[in-house]
Symmetry: C3
Subunit: 446 residues, 3 copies
Amino acid sequence: MSDNLSKDLYSALCAIPLIDPHSHIDAFAPTSRSLDDILGYHYYTELAHSAGMSHEPLRKETSPRDRVRAILGHMGRFDNTIQYSWFVEIAREFLGFTGDRVTVADTDTLFDAAQKTFAQPDWEKQVLQKTKLEAIFLTNEFDDELDGFDTKKYVPCLRTDSIVFHLEKANVRNRLMDATGVDFGDAQSLRKAIWKLFARFKAKGAKACAISLPPDFTPVKISDSELDRAVKALSGDSTFAKAVFGGVQFAKSIAGTSSATDASPQTAVAAGMFWMLAEHCREFELPFDLMIGVNRKVYEAGVYQGQDLFDRRTSLIQYRDLFNAFPEVTFPISVLTSGQNQELVAYAWIFPNVIPNGHWWYSNIPGYIRRDLGERLQAVPKTKQIGYYSDAYKLEFVLPKYNMYRTVLADTLAEDFVCPKRLTETEAVALGKRILRDNVREVFHV
Amino acid sequence: MSDNLSKDLYSALCAIPLIDPHSHIDAFAPTSRSLDDILGYHYYTELAHSAGMSHEPLRKETSPRDRVRAILGHMGRFDNTIQYSWFVEIAREFLGFTGDRVTVADTDTLFDAAQKTFAQPDWEKQVLQKTKLEAIFLTNEFDDELDGFDTKKYVPCLRTDSIVFHLEKANVRNRLMDATGVDFGDAQSLRKAIWKLFARFKAKGAKACAISLPPDFTPVKISDSELDRAVKALSGDSTFAKAVFGGVQFAKSIAGTSSATDASPQTAVAAGMFWMLAEHCREFELPFDLMIGVNRKVYEAGVYQGQDLFDRRTSLIQYRDLFNAFPEVTFPISVLTSGQNQELVAYAWIFPNVIPNGHWWYSNIPGYIRRDLGERLQAVPKTKQIGYYSDAYKLEFVLPKYNMYRTVLADTLAEDFVCPKRLTETEAVALGKRILRDNVREVFHV
Amino acid sequence: MSDNLSKDLYSALCAIPLIDPHSHIDAFAPTSRSLDDILGYHYYTELAHSAGMSHEPLRKETSPRDRVRAILGHMGRFDNTIQYSWFVEIAREFLGFTGDRVTVADTDTLFDAAQKTFAQPDWEKQVLQKTKLEAIFLTNEFDDELDGFDTKKYVPCLRTDSIVFHLEKANVRNRLMDATGVDFGDAQSLRKAIWKLFARFKAKGAKACAISLPPDFTPVKISDSELDRAVKALSGDSTFAKAVFGGVQFAKSIAGTSSATDASPQTAVAAGMFWMLAEHCREFELPFDLMIGVNRKVYEAGVYQGQDLFDRRTSLIQYRDLFNAFPEVTFPISVLTSGQNQELVAYAWIFPNVIPNGHWWYSNIPGYIRRDLGERLQAVPKTKQIGYYSDAYKLEFVLPKYNMYRTVLADTLAEDFVCPKRLTETEAVALGKRILRDNVREVFHV
């Protein structure tokens, strides 16, 4: 009975049009152009490399078809994974594949089918329709082009990792000066530059500010004079800055220091800029998406985008001052590990401005989603939960990823709500719609 | 089959009379007097506030009926939560409500029904009978009145947070002097005061000493001379004491310091008093309930009792010295997060004096209970587990909370024991009874 | 349907011959000689002691029969545990027991049956056949005898805890000198000694190097001159060494120190020796089994082998340098807590040389296995997972432990793969065989 119920709920959930609140879609090239775009997704290159594939097929010199053949040639080693099942679903839904399992023998057939399919002039439209995707959020660098596409469909979001964590790099500073016309050298001029960024993004329909944060990051307010000194160090002698800021100490927590002046200039800048961004989110009424927990470049010899891991020993207590200081700012929060979900549940249950947001990266597999979602639905107000985002780089991934989520959501609603008679089937679908769609609209003012 | 089995087990478990080993019941006003007492429970004010309700309806000036209306007016935003389902159950079991969902439209009906129902002279008796509640443990401040009620039914317990963590406050010190008649100013006189407290509580039938502890607390033994110095600092100039002891450093761990003298006087006092309490638990043969992991006042603008959260990075290794030093003292231990349950399981499996105790606060929802309970039943001797306590402020909550627990317990016994043929149905009920009731009697000598 | 499916899968999995990649079997006495050998397993002595049994029956002076009677006399207190069910299975499978529950009344019958059964000249052969056990890995001290048994069946593995963590002990140093003929006093001579050990073990068919590590251990490379100085301190005045290295600071992490010279000599030696072992694993092409997370002697008054616990606050980020420095070495990794499984999954998904290995010690119960296994199967390449090892001290335990695992594996394959139509039943069994057997052969070159 539970099985049929899950299926019915799943069908009903699939009928709800999607607004996807976080992705890495390029608005100027939202769909794939070849199968290489699909299998070049870091999940596949990571898994193939982890299972034994060398870097060789990933070099520019390798033809797309040969690269696809190499990855498919290793797929038999990870065809147990959920990521593999996304690919099979793409092949079946979009490429006319009718088998159950994809192997290296399917390389040419699939590659050719993809060439033909993706070349259709209305391919983007087809994918959007099949996916019932109304709008999808982007991840924009501060100097990204925001003209030339429908920002109602491809919703700009200001991604701020570089502003907070890479301001010691001359090219980031130069890009920021170019983008804002502000020749910053102290806290005040930096504030002016940031204000200009926000004004431009807001004018172009941006719906959020976003950032990913290392596990040891702890937001603290620092004074303008402290920020001044730190920024001046950064903007000064670049050799000096590199010496001071390079290496693994980057973005170390400044927890435990009563002021950020005890920390390195780079740490002080990170603290100051992060706080400044929160202030602008308040002024411009933008939610601030925090994606907490990633350490960059842990596996130095990893594939592109496949080098990041984490230290699970992180806590939302680090964000205590931030949540208290900015009651007007909504913080949709993604955590990297399922182990941190209980904190997210508890903080969202207590703090009005804390909102659980999707299932990020290493937690984006059914086992973790089932657990984390179940906990959230039992204890966090339903109006405060963003169910899911695709994190996709190409539109073709939105469907299989949301289908995975909807399968888990349907099971969860069936097992935790309908079977124990806490909700009827109709009410359960309404609860699903709320976290899948309604809350995205309300939280991000779409 | 599993469903019917669960139902049968649930019915059998519901027939077992309860002894509830932890609550915040006021023995002089154990039941609710209006619906405001029910919905004033911090779970509801927290969830309503987190979902958007201001502090306005929670002010004294607001009439109880209007406060109830305001909270019910926000309940539609958190009617997915398990806490909501407790309330529906209270309405149905105690207030004659017959619907499936409570809305703001039910305000007056329910409020009036509650007024009438709760005013019945035998209401307390009715609730006790309906709940099959034989006895319930209290949480008593050291100077609480212990005369004037049936201590077999309302069992006194000495709660010691203020003695350990708030002795820098003049009013706490004064209350302690008043309660004991001891004008303490050093370790020896403090020991005398504590002895008197224990003697009084023991004479009045107290069955446990209890305390809640922050995640970074680490018990260490300090010498009387160290405690002397720290206490003298506390008892001295109160302005000085406030300057030294105020602020966020309160109750910081002294882990890593070889003696507590390196720590602040307040930390030293906390360490010294905690150890002294353990010594008195040994002398007076009282279990020492440890509730590990809460940080107080994290959300400073939160509702009353809705400001506390936690840092999940805590470990039972911090209690290593304590468990080794007091083999004669039983420590029923509650952990705040499900993530700490495996430590609790392992420490209880190894240390004879460590006992898992219930499902506390942020872990008191079915998802966490199912997981934590399943783990405990697979690896901790059955004679060493206290299944559940209600943590209730009013008697009406004991029934729905225990029903939630019994539902999970029945499912767990069905899935993990009866279905795999490890136990018969009768044996499974006996296992349930052991952790629900028998162990409470044995561990606390009731 | 799922139930029948699980049963079918379980039967199919049970038909696969086993190669058990980690145990504590004594190749010269692989089977039990009396029931005392079975119930002397630390799980039973721990649980009995934790449930109230004194040390008295565990003394040498107690007769084996009386010791068995004492433990069985306490078993009623922990007959809910999975460890109890292993014992019932041993009694049923090997001792002709036909009941469902074992009690103290069965003492003499079982004890006598065991005497008779275990005395059969072909008992070892019977157990191996009944268990379908082809080969089992040992845990050898560096000076263990490696001649006189079939190393194809009892596969030597070099266990290195003493080399890394106990080199301050004169008897360890003396044993190492005896075993290698190298009178070491500095890094270079130590390296020569280690090389000789590896050469001997490799020649005798060793298939892995292994070590268990405390939760705060962080591998770092130290220079030979640093190691020199540290080793000289160790090899010098033994009173001095004892003073410096004794006590609880043993094997403390040196994380955060840029070189190990800031650490104690003992810590520096541990770091240096660990790194040296990894270098030899590379040279001798041996996988390096890391068993991460145990603190030794936490419960000082515990039973033999029942004193170890842990601090769950540990992270694989501590092993970042190691995984990067040794891409040619395979690291099969066991974690002590389920909470660390997500890191293990993620690190194995990214690092080619990281492999999840079994379900260790406090995580070796169905609740944790189900969760950890499900996560691994959804996200780690199937060719990179070692499903299980028995960790057994006597051969009789291999069967019930693997049966527990296979039950969970069958359920997992049914629920996560066959029911959602990701795999057919036949494919699911093949996936099971891969992680149960094929990967053991490939990873360890058996």
